[in-house]
Amino acid sequence: MSTVQQIREKPSSPAPVGALQNGRWSGFVHLLDARMKELRREPEVVFWVFVFPLLLALGLGIAFRNKPADTTAIAVVNGPEASRTLDLIRQSGHESAIHADVLDRAQAMKGFRLGKYNLVVEVDSAGAFKYVFDPARPESVLSKSEVDDVLQTAAGRHNPLSTSSEVSSEPGSRYIDFLIPGLIGMNVMNAAMWGIGFAIVDMRQRKLLKRFVATPMRRSDFLLALASSRLILMILEVGLLLGFGVLVFHMRVLGSVLVILLIGAIGALGFAGVGLLTASRAQKIESVSGLINVVMMPMWIFSGVFFSYERFPAIIQPFIKALPLTALNDALRATILEGASLAAQSSRMLVLGIWGIVCFMLALRWFRWT
């Protein structure tokens, strides 16, 4: 308090000598300080903002880690030729890459249907090999060509071309590298939407907003303090997730940290605007919680957090690219993974900026303080 309020003598004023005198930014500083204290004292906030994203990154990073030598599981239908099939695989030298179980036809098909086996191999009485595979499952298609190759080669096929392969799985092209920027983007969105939207409706419901506007508090200071608290938290969140990716998954950050934080800041402010609009009129926490989820849902799905949005049909790509989280995720990926400059991200920053400004203007028009 002493940093903002200073003792000042004012002999001409009716106030007693030595009265406290508040400066222009005193309200803002205290609002921001109070907000940060409240957040720090709320264990749930610490969990959802800091611990949860890390757990998510850790879990997904482990589940989708690049396995060193992928084995493919196949079922061989029991019959007079089954052992010959296994012998051929054994002779091929690819034994470690193919895991084969010998089963009855019915059991083999059941295992195949459940996804336990990628391929079913059956040899008929004439000695002809039959593959049962599912063209819709990439691993099934792969398995078929791999097993066919192994069997043919083992049976004596001569390959006319001389080929060799080299393995490449560098940091930068793995799933976790794709995932971490997406998680950072999603976290910036989640935290801004909840941190602004939920906090405002909570204060409105508690009549605290009304109590604040009953004082000479500047309303702009209040909104500014909320946004600033988001920025401070954003820096911590981004730093934590990036640091986690670097330390645990040996991720390589190619872009400058400053540019990444700047993109995060523009994202946080953009979503703060969206959050403010979402919370501009709601009177109850329950209704704003629903609204926030409705607003965020399309972005969880379409904006390329967990998988690339290129998978969606071309016709909806313009819609996807107009979403603020898509812009944020793309910008973060380009910077973190490819080292792109801020200037190269200007169109994406524009998308975020437009969302933020338009939502903020609408929110100011509709906002209910009481």
């Binding site: 406290l20 205290h30 009304k210 109590r211 500047r218 009481t370």
Partner: protein
């Protein structure tokens, strides 16, 4: 004395149908403690929130020290300390932090320690708001209003739900503010609060003032300062006229089998009453006398009790 708060022909209609305030006039002098007394739903909160500049009136004129809310909102707010009917302050902030937060909004606030002492919150200064009792929370709410060094204190139902000791503590604080030259406007549905605290009050019902004056004035308008309440076995409807004929009786009211007489001199009325009951072969089942209160004024004016509904 200059006028602190003035409103003329104040009206507020919610969503075009509910008329919460229907043509209300008030003139509150500087240094006065003025009370709006009325039952729940009478329009007290709507009125005080319009005066506080938190609610837009449908029509009418409001001024605070001669300034309207349209003139300079922020400047006016420097002069006002407001405690709303129900504010849940942040539970995870301490008492001191909460007061300092509110102090930071004012140009020349009072020192936090001084306010803590005045509101007897010193030993709770570092406790979180969530850990406070009802009385302490209410004192904190008043502390956030007083820290801005206001000229007018607005209190909406300041003691509702508080225990008697906490209520008296708050009354002392309000009186202390007034003794230092402050003006107070409060709403209450407690008649004892209005009687003890207010220099003048307005009784509000259905969005209108139905009586206004000092508490003594209002009671005096009943005609008598004392109330004699009794139950008699031979009390029937025709008896009312007989009770009115007793010496010193100014008013008769039947209340659920109970007869209430407002009287000037109980020592003359009571012997006559005893004779009258006995003379008609009846029996007195219950008899009390007490000072007339604002409750009696309200019942006389509206036929209802303050705490009904």
């Amino acid at each position: 004395m200059p006028v602190a708060i003035e409103c003329r022909d104040l009206r507020k209609t919610y969503e075009g149908k509910v008329e919460a305030v229907r043509g209300l006039n008030l003139r509150i002098e500087t240094g006065e403690c003025f009370g709006l007394l009325g039952p729940n739903g009478a329009g007290k909160t709507t009125t005080i929130e319009i005066l506080e500049g938190l609610l837009q009136a449908t029509s009418g004129y409001v001024s605070i020290f001669g300034h309207t809310w349209q003139e300079n909102d922020r400047e006016l707010r420097e002069w006002l300390g407001i405690s709303l009917q129900e504010t849940r302050l942040s539970e995870k902030l301490s008492v001191r932090e909460t007061i300092e937060l509110f102090a930071s909004f004012y140009r020349e606030p009072r020192p936090t320690d001084e306010v803590l002492d005045q509101l007897q919150l010193r030993e709770k200064a570092d406790a979180w708001v969530g850990k406070l009792s009802g009385g302490q929370r209410q004192r904190l709410a008043v502390a956030t209003a007083l820290v801005g060094n206001p000229r007018i204190l607005f209190l909406d139902e300041p003691t509702t739900g508080l225990d008697p000791q906490s209520r008296r503590q708050l009354w002392d604080i309000i009186r202390g503010f007034q003794q230092h030259g402050g003006t107070v406007l409060l709403t209450t549905h407690y008649m004892d609060e209005a009687e003890r605290l207010c220099d003048r009050l307005a009784i509000v019902d259905h969005g209108q003032i139905i009586a206004e004056g000092t508490p003594e004035d209002l009671i005096a308008r009943l005609g008598g300062h004392h109330v004699v309440e009794f139950e008699a076995s031979n009390n029937h409807s025709a008896a009312a006229e007989r009770w009115r004929g007793l010496p010193g009786v100014e008013g008769v009211r039947q209340d659920d089998g109970l007869v209430c007489l407002t009287v000037r001199e109980p020592h003359r009325t009571i012997p006559a009453l005893l004779d009258a009951v006995e003379g008609q072969g009846g029996q007195l089942e219950h008899l009390t006398t007490r000072q007339a209160s604002l409750e009696d004024v309200f019942v006389k004016l509206t036929g209802r009790h303050l705490r009904e509904e």
